[in-house]
């Protein structure tokens, strides 16, 4: 047993996570993502809060700003889930038939091939054991929450990874997006479904996204349902597991009807459908959600800033063409090649009905 400094603790822990201790510490996004994967390897299936708490508990003595640390863990966990290391899924009925809440499961070790022959590595093995031989572990490059591997000369990475039991997730499946449609039609589909829902009865503890609140401060848009009337994207609490995402019809704050999300396709996460629906509602209300493009760290890159959360399929697309960077008064920021910016703007406008902050004034 010996006493060590905080710096030494950072370095040893980062090395245990098979990362470079000269450039990373435990409170970087890479470090936190590594700790989340490690904890998930032990705790899953578990609630999101159990996972973030486990990492927070192990880091709180290394931070002088617990609030910032908590926020960072929370955001990184959201990114790790969106990337595909973890899967949100309902509590199995066999375990608890009363609980419709969602919990996190491990994605089995898998990979997504890129056109350039490199691969994204996804998934976590039980106990967070690295599923590949040691030589391969050294070749994994971590960048934020993303894990990449590049082929050696004359190597087919697909063959190498498959032969060790990693399964391939086709790129088109990983980045699959919903179909394009006008925001009004999108909202109409949900309204029609909500119209068919039975009466909800009394429900308490519902929190809604208030459409009238500024779209550039997402946390500030959440509020308790009090005297609200109308249709809202909302969350209703669960005894165990994450709160459920829903679309609610309220009358003076009293729930009338609701539908649970995802309502249209089980392969999307509930929050993916909810965030896109909210983006459509905001667009219909003439207060569309916004993005900002600013110069990147190099001459050939730009930074894309977002102020509202976006579905996993959008994040994966940007993981593919760019990389996430620490936020700067935004909810999400990506560095992208400037040459790709135009296409990404079209993507955001057509699928999420976002507008440029400059255009929105």
């Amino acid at each position: 047993m010996k006493r060590i400094s905080a710096q030494e603790l950072h370095e040893r822990s980062i090395r245990s996570l098979a990362m470079d201790s000269s450039s990373l510490d435990l409170t970087t996004i890479e470090g936190i993502a590594g700790l989340l994967r490690r904890a998930a390897g032990f705790l899953c299936p578990c609630a999101e809060t159990e996972l973030s708490d486990a990492v927070f508990q192990s880091l709180r003595d290394l931070s002088n700003d617990p609030e910032h640390l908590f926020e960072l863990i929370h955001t990184t966990l959201a990114n790790v889930v969106a990337y595909g290391d973890l899967i949100e899924s309902p509590v199995p009925q066999a375990q608890d038939e009363n609980s419709p809440g969602t919990i996190l499961y491990l994605t089995p070790p898998s990979f997504v091939m890129r056109k350039d022959g490199s691969a994204f590595l996804l998934g976590i093995a039980p106990d967070n054991l690295f599923p590949l031989p040691e030589d391969y572990a050294k070749r994994v490059e971590v960048d934020g929450h993303v894990k990449r591997m590049f082929p050696l000369p004359d190597e087919s990475l697909r063959t190498s990874l498959s032969q060790f039991g990693l399964f391939e997730l086709p790129m088109e499946q990983w980045v699959r997006t919903p179909f394009r449609e006008p925001a009004q039609e999108h909202v109409l589909r949900f309204n029609n479904l909500l119209g068919l829902a039975p009466s909800s009865g009394d429900l308490s503890g519902i929190r809604i996204i208030e459409p009238s609140k500024p779209v550039r401060y997402y946390p500030g848009r959440w509020t308790e349902s009090r005297n609200h009337t109308g249709r809202f994207v909302a969350r209703r609490p669960q005894a165990y597991g994450a709160d459920l995402w829903c679309y609610f019809q309220l009358e003076n704050g009293h729930p009338q009807k609701f539908i649970d999300l995802p309502a249209f396709e089980g392969r999307w996460r509930a929050c993916d459908e909810a965030w896109r629906l909210q983006a459509a509602i905001d667009a219909c209300n003439s207060t569309p959600q916004q993005f900002r493009v600013r110069p990147g760290p190099t001459n050939t890159t730009s930074v894309l800033d977002l102020f509202s959360p976006v579905p996993a399929w959008a994040q994966r697309r940007w993981d593919l063409v760019g990389r996430s960077v620490p936020r700067n008064g935004t909810l999400l920021s990506y560095v992208l090649p400037t040459s790709a910016i135009k296409e990404e703007i079209d993507f955001m406008k057509s699928l999420l009905w976002l507008v440029d902050l400059k255009e929105a004034g």
């Binding site: 192990s58 290394l62 609980s99 031989p133 165990y240």
Partner: protein, 961 residues
């Protein structure tokens, strides 16, 4: 050529003589293997080319022994003799399998060569020799390399000090390997030595159980393929990091009592944990989390069969967990409906031995206490605080078997679990004296002012107070801090790696980080001594260390998609014949995909056939799987034709990012087996007899129309094919105590031939006739069916005829009529109840069974037998049972099980009843009410969940061990 053979013979004689001496000097009578010839690749090639063309001769017996061994080295588990004969034209010149065995006998006698033993050697009495002497054939080497790679994180010095321990670790992971590998794994010492040599080389060449050249050859083989090379390279690298040195040998841990064993068990980390989960209704569920029992298996390999059996969790709903569920899928969570008594063992495996009972009673029980404290955490669950430590401002739930005295900080909580009560404890931000006294009276203690907690890497488990668990591959770190001034803190680590550290904090609140050395598996205690203002305060952190769970491609309970096979490693026949069940768990409404891949033999060449099945909606329960497989696989004409020549089936499940999982099913590996082929519009069968017995197998045929009349059959000797007549039938072969049968369907030329009317010989109400029908039932139900669905249909026709005869003899005419009505759905099951007995004093018997049916549907057969026995004793005046062994504690319990077995699965009776079979049959013939009651309970449990009742044979939901 003869001179060359003579030269080889002399060289080999010289070599093995020297080797024998060398081994005897170093290791005593450790056996030699014929593969240890130490010839180079080109020498093997030269030797083989000469032997191939030669006639077998006693003069060159050793050359032939080595040659046969070399073919064993290339053997892949399908056929030995066909490839032997094909590769050895000279064998036709008087070759005799018995002679070859004699050569190996001579090798064993002359040089102390290995002698195959165990059931495998008994059944494969000739080919067991070349295969044993090949040590580890090429296909088995691949399996060994894969396991070594998977367990590389478990390597530690002890494993390399004791090859047997290493062999046990490998054997414990061999459940997914081929049957042949499992046979090799029955010799853990040899397997461990091969593995150790592959990983770290031989420290002392003289003490090697196998010559270094032979080991080198195995290692070279593995280096040929890239994947195997990478596996081995990584495993070697992990091994070398864990020190070197091999010593011979240490024994397995004996299953005996004593503190040493208890400590060993504790070190395995298999203690179940309890936690509480809130329900929507505001109450709490008690959940038992059972860890993967894999570590138990590596310690006690002899428990494999029991641990892969069905298991019931004490206090749960009673529904048994699927076979192997606790071994291969990671931790399991089971809701407890009743709080078990701390003296009750939490897990009960079917047919568990007293040894397992002892092991489970050491580690698989609730910790003895009258109170259990749980802290409510931010995710809504409540986790146990082992030390009973409470903190101001926190919320707890106290489970208690005693009444909790009232207090302002305590209020009752609703719990979905009997035999225990729950109380919320809301601790004020500051302890009051009154509160402190109250909590201390409950056995709880306030937290100290000095915090010791994990820091850096999150541990596997941290209860927030005094218990943390890490992996054996971790180097744990902790943070020590105090919110007030202390003079000194001493950390004292107790256990197998003792250590001490003195700390002097400079100021209150200072965070001091401490690195704990890497610890061996097991429990360790870190004592914390705090000196403050002349006082010494004591505290402790319990540190548990466990090995990581080896990862192999596939899915576990930690994944959203999970494929569960029961049994966990089913054979091709079990899946095809519906004797294995599969289920796929996953998020409701998500789509799943399934592909089947059959590998089959076409004129000696391996071919694969793939079929992508229609997508299905998750989850896929066992009943739905059966229908899905039936409609898309068994009913497929192409697959039916391929099936008979298939030797493996892979069932691949996938659901996008949720994952993929493959169930590998191989043809059963039996010394006596029927090979079936469809050729020129008819079936051709061939009997493959690897028993090596001198007497040829006796052959019998049964017709579908007269299924109880054996017809002696003359078939060509040896492996010659035999064309089956159009009427088909059951073909049975017997060699020694082995018996194998196959049902070949008739060629159907008209619709009327789709069904058959079985006519049985006239029978009487006697134990003799009952016995005869039971034997015939066993024969037909154990027979292999072919790919054609008509094979199964005809078998079921015959079984239905036998079952009806058995029911007729034991339950009577009126009962049989009632059953026929039930089968045709013209009456329901409740109507049968009144047919059990017309006597007014016994009518309650049927009613009592009827009332118990729902309760018993999800119970084990053991529980069903107990309940049935109790009901029978209550309502019937059962005559005494004579002539039963005095060791039976309750003869009525025995006859209750006897009756239930006969009435639900007659094929599960004979072996179980053994020499008492006739006693039981006589008894039932004289107490038909008991027989009818058993049949009624059988039907009620089998069909309570709307199973297909077109055939009342092999009642579903009644699997007997």
């Amino acid at each position: 050529m003869s001179s060359s053979l003579l030269a080889w013979q002399e060289r080999l004689e010289h070599h093995f003589l020297a080797l024998r001496k060398q081994r005897s000097d170093a290791l005593g009578d450790r056996p030699l293997f014929a593969l240890e010839h130490d010839l180079t690749e080109s020498e093997i090639s030269d030797l083989s080319s000469i032997v191939r063309k030669s006639a077998p001769s006693d003069r060159y017996w050793l050359v032939w022994t080595v040659y046969a061994t070399e073919l064993g080295y290339q053997y892949e588990g399908v056929e030995y003799w066909p490839s032997f004969e094909e590769n050895t034209p000279g064998w036709a010149l008087g070759g005799d399998r018995g002679w070859l065995r004699d050569c190996f006998w001579k090798f064993a006698k002359t040089y102390g060569g290995a002698r195959p033993s165990g059931p495998w050697a008994t059944h494969f009495s000739i080919i067991c020799w070349p295969i044993t002497h090949a040590i580890l054939s090429e296909d088995l080497q691949r399996q060994l390399a894969e396991i070594l790679y998977q367990i590389r994180y478990l390597f530690r010095k002890e494993l390399f000090d004791s090859p047997e321990l290493l062999g046990n670790e490998i054997a414990a992971r061999s459940w997914t390997t081929t049957r042949r590998f499992q046979m090799v794994a029955e010799e853990p010492l040899l397997l461990g030595q091969i593995a150790a040599a592959l990983l770290i080389g031989e420290k002392d060449r003289a003490k090697s159980l196998i010559t270094p050249d032979t080991l080198l050859r195995i290692a070279k083989n593995l280096n040929k393929e890239r994947r195997e090379r990478e596996w081995l390279k990584d495993a070697r690298s992990a091994a070398k990091a864990k020190l070197t040195g091999i010593s011979l040998p240490s024994a397995r841990l004996p299953v005996s009592s004593g503190p040493g064993l208890r400590q060993e068990l504790r070190n395995l980390g298999i203690e179940p944990r309890v936690y509480l989960r809130p329900t929507l209704q505001g109450s709490w569920n008690v959940v038992l989390e059972i860890p993967d029992l894999g570590p138990l298996l590596s310690k006690f390999p002899e428990l494999q069969e029991t641990l892969t059996g069905a298991c019931v969790v004490t206090g749960s709903s009673g529904r048994p967990l699927a076979r192997g569920r606790l071994l291969h899928y990671g931790p399991q969570s089971v809701i407890l409906k009743r709080w078990p008594d701390p003296s009750e063992v939490l897990l009960h495996f079917e047919n568990q031995s007293p040894e397992l009972e002892y092991i489970l009673s050491a580690e698989c029980m609730l910790r003895p206490s009258s109170n259990w404290l749980f802290k409510i955490s931010s995710d809504g669950t409540a986790r146990e605080i082992r030390g009973g430590i409470i903190r101001p401002g926190s919320r707890y739930i106290l489970l208690s078997r005693d009444e909790i005295p009232p207090h302002a900080d305590a209020r009752s909580a609703a719990l979905e679990c009997e035999a225990i009560s729950a109380t919320y404890l809301d601790i004020d931000p500051i302890f009051s004296q009154d509160g402190l006294t109250y909590f201390q009276s409950l056995g709880l203690a306030p937290a100290r002012q000095v915090d010791v907690r994990p820091a850096g890497l999150p541990p596997v488990l941290w209860d927030g107070e005094g218990y943390a668990e890490w992996l054996s591959t971790d180097q744990p770190s902790i943070c020590v801090s105090s919110d007030h001034h202390v003079d000194a803190i001493t950390l004292n680590l107790e256990g197998t790696a003792p250590a001490r550290l003195d700390l002097i904090p400079q100021q209150p609140g200072e965070r001091i980080f401490v690195e704990i050395p890497q610890l061996p598996t097991g429990n360790h205690v870190l004592h914390v001594l705090v000196g403050s203002a002349g006082q010494i305060l004591l505290g402790q952190l319990e540190v548990a260390i466990r090995d990581p769970r080896p990862w192999k491609p596939g899915l576990t309970e930690q994944n959203a998609l999970l494929v569960i096979a029961d049994p966990p490693n089913p054979s091709l026949e079990q899946v095809w014949e519906g004797r294995a069940t599969l289920q796929v768990q996953g998020p409701p409404a998500r789509q799943g995909r399934c592909e089947v891949v059959l590998t089959h033999d076409v004129r000696g060449t391996s071919h694969t056939f793939r079929k992508q099945l229609p997508q299905f909606v998750l989850p896929l329960p066992p009943g739905a799987w059966e229908g899905y497989f039936d409609a898309n696989v068994r009913a497929d004409d192409v697959i039916q034709n391929i099936y008979d020549a298939a030797y493996s089936l892979e069932i691949r499940f996938a659901a996008e990012e949720l994952g993929q999982s493959t169930v590998h099913c191989r043809r059963e590996f039996a010394p006596l087996r029927w090979l079936v082929k469809w050729e020129n519009h008819g079936y051709v069968v061939r009997l493959r007899d690897d028993t090596g017995l001198s007497q040829p197998a006796s052959l019998t045929r049964y017709e579908f129309e007269r299924p109880d009349e054996p017809i002696a059959l003359q078939m060509p000797l040896g492996d010659q094919p035999f064309r089956v007549s159009e009427s088909g039938g059951l073909f049975s072969a017997r060699s020694g105590d082995l018996k194998r049968s196959v049902i070949l369907p008739p060629l159907v030329r008209s619709l009327s031939q789709l069904r058959t009317d079985c006519v049985l010989h006239p029978h009487t109400k006697s134990a003799e006739d009952l016995n005869k029908f039971i034997s015939l039932y066993e024969l037909w139900s154990s027979a292999r069916i072919t790919g054609a669905t008509l094979s199964a249909t005809r078998r079921d026709d015959v079984l239905a005829a036998f079952m009806q005869a058995l029911v007729h003899l034991t339950c009577g005419n009126e009962w049989v009529s009632g059953e026929i009505e039930f089968e045709r759905r013209t009456n329901d099951l409740a109507t049968l109840k009144s047919t059990i007995s017309r006597s007014p004093i016994r009518t309650g018997f049927g009613a009592a069974i009827w009332l118990k049916r729902d309760e018993l549907t999800d119970q084990t057969n053991t529980k069903r037998v107990c309940v049935f026995c109790q009901v029978a004793k209550s309502y019937l005046e059962l005559p005494p049972l004579g002539h039963l062994p005095s060791s039976l504690s309750d003869p009525y319990l025995w006859i209750a099980e006897f009756a239930l077995r006969l009435m639900t699965r007659p094929d599960a009776l004979t072996r179980w009843a053994a020499s008492q079979l006739n006693i039981g049959l006589q008894y039932l013939l004289t107490t038909p009410t008991l027989a009818r009651g058993a049949r009624f309970l059988g039907l009620a449990v089998a069909y309570s969940k709307a199973h297909d009742r077109s055939r009342l044979i092999n009642l579903p939901n009644w699997e007997w061990q």
